[in-house]
Symmetry: C2
Subunit: 295 residues, 2 copies
Amino acid sequence: MQSIESALQETALAIEQVLDQILTLEDAAEIQLFDAMRYAALGGGKRFRPFLTCQCAKLFGVDSSNALRAGAAIELIHCYSLVHDDLPAMDDDDLRRGKPTVHKKFDDATAILAGDALLTLAFEVMVAPATHEMASVRAELVKGLAKSSGGHGMVGGQMIDLAAETMALNIGGITRLQQLKTGAMIAFSCEAGAILGRASNEAREALRGYAHDLGLAFQIADDLLDVEGTLEETGKAVGKDEAAGKATFVSILGAERARAQANLLADQAVEHLAVFDETADQLRAAARFVVERKN
Amino acid sequence: MQSIESALQETALAIEQVLDQILTLEDAAEIQLFDAMRYAALGGGKRFRPFLTCQCAKLFGVDSSNALRAGAAIELIHCYSLVHDDLPAMDDDDLRRGKPTVHKKFDDATAILAGDALLTLAFEVMVAPATHEMASVRAELVKGLAKSSGGHGMVGGQMIDLAAETMALNIGGITRLQQLKTGAMIAFSCEAGAILGRASNEAREALRGYAHDLGLAFQIADDLLDVEGTLEETGKAVGKDEAAGKATFVSILGAERARAQANLLADQAVEHLAVFDETADQLRAAARFVVERKN
């Protein structure tokens, strides 16, 4: 089997190409907008969400060009959320993937507009015939993208995250926060593959279980990296949660128990994949990868 | 014929009801997000874009509940754009429709997230089966909504608008700015009615011409209001363009010629409707309304 690192890199390269084509740079008065959009979306990132979409789509024999389009739409949402999240009014971050954040490189107004335009472009990409020949499939994808990324999904999670700075969350509260903030989009990244493949209910249910456990494992690992990682490894500021006095899985469970919990969730995630043959091996590897990664 | 004011008010009430149903307020940690979304979207606004959608849809016998859903999605985009536009990093406005702007009432972070969530919700509403029974029609609506509101539409126009503070625009530049910033969404508001009604190419072309002239007339009237209106009438700060040193139709043409141009465009808009019978009378009245309105 291809290593997970090599498989991830392959998808990342393909997604970079798709995004490069989508994000045209035109010679117009608003050139700075497209410049900022390209800066935000190209040249970095693990492309982990598109990887999940592509691997899940492969289970059902979906054409990889279709999966890459859906994955690119999801990645555009992820990129916009980072741009807005980094704004001074939000997390106020200066570095992202080792480079100045969009509002540092350009300005706050451009960052707000570039985020809005990336968000909107995600839906334009998802609904285009190149994503799937059937309009009903594209409509289902648009619905899932909106639900997972909006007020009842990712944006809702970000709102709780901000509130968490002044509100003491228990472990249930943190779990809900993370299920909205990162879990919903990770779950949809998997579901998108199933939608494209018009998968059976049984297969969708299995992927739903996988994505749920994977998403939580991913977030606990993220919290651990914020405590144990370095700026060189992660390409972004670390130790921010503690400095902000935010409750995290690590602050409540302690690093050791948090790590044990992440490993347990990764094991559970793999178990959900029992209904699939070796085509799912990269998804199995991904579950281990998320808890062992260094950035 | 019903007066345009009364017809507008009827649509505004119906849209308010639809938005009130869509924007549920749940008792959760992220309640402030939904609170801010409702504050931004309910209780005000001419609902001029949904009015255009409903009136255009009526030309093709579309069920009014479908037209109202599409109109509500468009209005959500309009509302999000106002929330982000009012932010300190953008236009820095304290008042909107005579009330504190969202970031004044809540805070900047909540305003950014509420805008993001309203934007995303617009696509969720548009793609839902309640908007149209055919997935292909919904997909076409989603595509048009994304194109008209994104980087090559409204957001692109906002970017030029920001750049215009430091860049001298001539009349061609201002026309392009406004065609993107307000024209694209006004054009799509009309087109959405034609998409819902699966209208002929001839009818679509007529509505496209109408919307083009109406949109420009609308914007010139807006520029005139910024010069000649009062805070009491418009519910927002006036004289801002001149204070910011921004070129507008009025600063370049002068108030008198700008008014003449707006009236000419309104007449042209009406001429495009010649292919329609008296069902289009409210659209004809709307063309006059935009150049005569006081807010």
